[in-house]
């Protein structure tokens, strides 16, 4: 588990499973630097997404994770930082 990496593809899968995708938004398009809000994900969708990432990767995300990291690129980086730090889950 300690070598696990959180990928952009994993984020897209989790978003689709947990929150779907807005009409007119192509998750496979160029969205790495788009705001989650622009992509149509409001607080509830992000809470569900955060919960799924926590469970799948055995980590604990900060309450402010989505306000501090508002784009897919920033979130993926932040989660990978946590995965690096937490070889043993802090959940």
């Amino acid at each position: 588990m300690s070598e696990r990496k959180f990928t952009f593809d994993a984020l897209k899968r989790i978003l689709r499973e947990g929150a779907g995708a807005d009409e007119g938004v192509d998750l496979d398009g160029d969205i790495l630097d788009a705001d989650f809000e622009e992509l149509g994900y409001e607080s509830l969708a992000l809470l569900e997404t955060g919960g799924r990432i926590e469970r799948e990767y055995g980590i604990s995300l900060d309450d402010d994770i989505f306000t501090d990291h508002r784009t897919p690129r920033a979130l993926v980086a932040a989660v990978n930082e946590l995965l690096k730090d937490n070889t043993v889950s802090a959940a």
């Binding site: 689709r16 499973e17 947990g18 929150a19 779907g20 995708a21 807005d22 009409e23 149509g40 509830l44 969708a45 809470l47 569900e48 919960g51 926590e54 469970r55 959940a91």
Partner: protein, 407 residues
Amino acid sequence: MSTSTRTVITGIGVATPSGLGIDDFWAATRVGKNAIGRVTHFDPTSYPSRLAGEIRHFAAEELLPSRLIPQTDRMTRLALVAADWAFADAGIKPGDIPEFDMGVVTASTSGGFEFGQNELKKLWSQGSQYVSAYQSFAWFYAVNSGQISIRNGMRGPSGVVVSDHAGGLDAIAQARRQIRKGSKVIFSGGFDASICTWGWVAQIAGGRMSTSDDPDRAFLPFDADADGYVPGEGGALLVLEDELTARERGARTVYGEIAGYGSTFDPKPGSGREPGLRRAIEVALADAGVETGEVDVVFADAAGTPRLDREEADAINAVFGRHGVPVTAPKTMTGRLYSGAAPVDVVSAVLAIREGLIPPTVNVEPSPEYGIDLVTAQPRSASVRTALVLARGHGGYNSAVVVRAVD
């Protein structure tokens, strides 16, 4: 604020085992097509009841945005799609009516039980952190009113009533109150879809479900062989407006009027006093200003258990006389749809008015001892101007609505 205007039905969204949308639904209902079959949503072999009225070809993913799918129970998906159809049928687009003048009043019996089961399973088999963020509302009784209002920008008075199978009529009555207070358009009706193992076990616990394996001999209200009901899933949403609004905006179809309503609760069991259904009928007729002789058809609650069938037949006969009025129960084709059952019967009533045809009660050999004129086997041609819809709920709920033709 208050007006004496009539509350009329100008749009319909219906989804039942008999059909999705008015045309499908009525094509099957008018000829008495039985939609009851063996449960397919799960393997029912180990349960004492194995038949249900299931909606077979409902592709929510094709009809709703994918953002809504993870956060909705099946009953909410059905309700949201029916709301879309009802808007289209009424010729109203979100935005046509001022947002505070448009509301939603729905009934629910058991909420999003299947959604709840999945989350309870995660909680107890995996741990509390596995419970979905959507569990905080996806299963609860208010979810359909909330989701419909959000999807369609309806900010007016809304509500949710729970009175078991009678709730669908109570919601329609509450919608009519809001229209009388000045709202222009209220969506009203009910949806339930609890054909999941957890819902099944809860319904079995109620002790009134049929244990037959023969879809043609399972749900037999007013039959000497009646031995319980078959559950179904689905419901209907009606667009209700005050007549003036409907006329002013040039509504395409005015299906009929919600002319009267009455609601009572039975005396405590063991009191020996008369059940409340007769009073509910009388209150509804008086509210509508309708004489018994003007009622052209009664859509029965049709519980399918001897005691409740007896009570219902006694109430109908006390008001209309033995064989005094045609009685029908199209729900014999779909099973009981819980809070959705009565709104679906209101839909059948207005379509019966439109076509001049009473849909039949299927599979039933009426027992002569009930003394009612049950429309069985074949639909019956009749001029229908006024229909009475009855609905009863577990514990003693009785509601009655009078639906009347509008010229």
